[in-house]
């Protein structure tokens, strides 16, 4: 999967989750708000019912006052008068309560004001009737009751109250509808929100499953490409190994076959040398005979003279150069042979206590070290699984070099130390010797190449050999050095080397 698409997918999932969370918050908030609204709507409905109740109570009290007044008029009994008075007294508070209840509605306030007026008119009519009864003018009072005034104000009370009730009923209907609406809204919002959350959750689950599937596919692809890669690497390794073996065989055969003619060249050069001796001995004898000088003592070599002597010396010089060149060529060929032989040797990994191994190497070099006035210090070293002989050759070459190339007049100090890191052991062989010019750092690892003052015997093979061995053991090596500052060779080797890494087909 492309990283772009993966990032988009991750982003999408985060967005989805945030959206779900936001929806949840919105649903909760609106639910709380709507429930509050529904509660206040309900309160208003209750309020309306209360107002209606008060209106009814008011009308009841007015009626009670009216019937009390009538009864008193008919019977003049004080009991009815008290009834009437109580009803009239109750009218005031009921009116006050009502006015408090309807204070929010200007239309009702207006209605109430009218009602209050009418009721007051009616109460004052009752007052006048009572006064007439009290003064004994019964017919006057009856006439007043029968008169248009009282009937009119009674009817007016009725209609005004009716108007108020109608208004309250209208409000009731309105508020009930409102309350219903807000409750419905709350329900709908909750349902819609829940549905949205569920949908988001489903999308999320689908996305997660899809990305899981994509991941599984990617894993399968990765495994496949790993396998492919391994096959490719194996093929390449096999090719390289074949090429390497070809070179080894080539080097072996060439160096081997070069040896045969060399034996002849050397052999016949020596024969030639013998011939030369014979020839010049004869020349000397002849020359002596010609100059008739006394013959030399028995067994003594005849002496050559002048030009003859010069000729003989030239002959010897030429033969000497040929012989020394052949000797050198032989050493080189032997070195190549040994190298290729090492290259063909099969490595077998075994458990090796490196400290033990290097101390053994150091003890075989102890004599040389003592002669060169050098000390070898071996610090604690790890335990490796590797090829013993190869490691011995590596370290004995390096320590031998360190002993060979010390600074004249300075006691040598050679330290072997190691540390481990990520499955590799890093060895350092450090000396305080003459050092190596940085421009020669590459050269010293080349076959037959040497650096610095050539005052020690050697073919320029040791380090080339060491590096080849280190490589075969799956490691690397490098050098850090300055002229006159000593050298430190660093070798990194796998702690657990397996033969199959490199040379399984050797």
């Amino acid at each position: 999967m492309a990283p772009e698409a993966r990032r988009r997918r991750t982003l999408g999932q985060i967005l989805l989750l945030s959206a779900g969370f936001l929806v949840l918050v919105a649903v909760s908030t609106s639910s709380v708000l709507l429930v509050n609204k529904a509660r206040s709507d309900n309160a208003w409905v209750v309020h309306t019912i209360e107002a209606e109740n008060q209106i009814n109570a008011l009308l009841l009290e007015v009626r009670r006052a009216k019937s009390g007044a009538r009864a008193y008029l008919l019977t003049q009994e004080q009991e009815f008068l008290r009834d009437h008075e109580a009803a009239v007294a109750a009218v005031g508070p009921v009116l006050d309560k009502l006015s408090a209840l309807v204070a929010d509605n200007p239309r009702q306030v207006e209605n109430l004001a009218r009602l209050r007026n009418v009721i007051e008119t009616r109460l004052s009519q009752f007052g006048r009737e009572k006064a007439l009864v009290a003064s004994g003018d019964l017919p006057g009072a009856v006439a007043l009751v029968r008169g248009a005034g009282s009937a009119e104000s009674s009817a007016l009370i009725g209609t005004t109250a009716e108007a108020m009730r109608t208004e309250e009923e209208r409000l009731f209907a309105l508020r009930t509808a409102n309350a219903d609406a807000s409750q419905q809204l709350a329900t709908m919002v909750t349902i819609a929100g829940s549905a949205l959350v569920i949908v988001l959750a489903i999308i999320s689950v689908v996305l997660v499953r899809r990305s899981a599937r994509a991941r599984d596919e990617a894993e399968v692809r990765l495994r496949e490409s790993n396998l492919n890669l391994e096959t490719t690497v194996d093929e390449r390794t096999a090719d390289l190994r074949e090429a390497n073996e070809e070179i080894q065989r080539f080097a072996y055969i060439v160096s081997h076959d070069l040896r045969s003619p060399l034996v002849n060249i050397m052999g016949f050069t020596s024969e030639l040398d013998e011939l030369r001796n014979d020839v010049f001995r004869r020349i000397a004898t002849l020359a002596r005979a010609a100059s008739s000088s006394p013959p030399p003592a028995e067994g003594a070599e005849p002496e050559l003279e002048g030009a003859d002597r010069q000729l003989s010396d030239d002959f010897s010089e030429a033969l000497g150069f040929i012989k020394s060149s052949i000797a050198k060529m032989d050493r080189l060929i032997t070195a190549i042979l040994n190298l290729t032989r090492e290259g063909r040797r099969e490595f077998s990994p075994v458990r090796i206590d490196m400290r033990e191994l290097i101390e053994a190497v150091a003890s075989t070099l102890a004599h040389q070290a003592a002669e060169a006035n050098a000390t070898i210090r071996v610090e604690p070293l790890p335990i490796l699984v590797s090829d013993r002989l190869a490691l011995e050759q590596i370290f004995s070459n390096l320590i031998d070099n360190a002993i060979k190339y010390l600074k004249p007049g300075v006691p040598g100090e050679i330290v072997v130390r190691a540390r481990t890191k990520l499955g590799f052991a890093i060895f350092e062989i450090a000396d305080n010797g003459r050092g190596i010019d940085p421009k020669d750092h590459h050269r010293i690892f080349d076959l037959f190449r040497r650096a610095g003052t050539q005052d020690r015997p050697g073919q320029g093979i040791g380090l080339a050999h060491v590096r080849a061995l280190v490589r075969r053991l799956g490691g690397t090596m490098s050098v850090a050095s300055e002229l006159d500052q000593g050298s430190t060779f660093t070798i990194t080797l796998p702690i657990n080397w397996k033969a199959s890494n490199r040379n399984s087909e050797r």
């Binding site: 081997h256 076959d257 040896r259 045969s260 003619p261 060399l262 034996v263 002849n264 050397m266 052999g267 016949f268 050069t269 020596s270 024969e271 052949i326 000797a327 032989d330 042979l337 032989r341």
Partner: protein
Amino acid sequence: MTMPVTIIMIEDDEGHARLIERNIRRSGVNNEILPFTNGTDAVKYLLGADGTGLEHKGHALLILLDLNLPDMTGIDILKTVKQNSFLKSAPVVILTTTDDSQEIKRCYELGCNVYITKPVNYESFANAIRQLGLFFSVIQVPPAA
């Protein structure tokens, strides 16, 4: 030597052959030396016309063998000799440039009697051959059964 031993020298390099012969002669060995420059001729001679080696019955042979031959390896010849009932008692001296320890081991396992690596240094070479000549002059070689 009590009886005339024939030295069979199988050596493809004529220069080497010459040097070997010279040095053997120098050590005072005057036995007949039969040189062969390739393996095929040598094997043909050793096994005779009938291919059984019967021809050499009663002859004392000493074989000087080089391992690197143009047509076969000396090891094949060594095997042939050591598997032949008439020839197997003949001493085989391997004189070659190969100093591979595996090769040396193999030759001794196959029944070679002496293995000598030709030194490039002529002094050593001549010395080795002369020593070999001295060895030849005292060695008792059984006749082929």
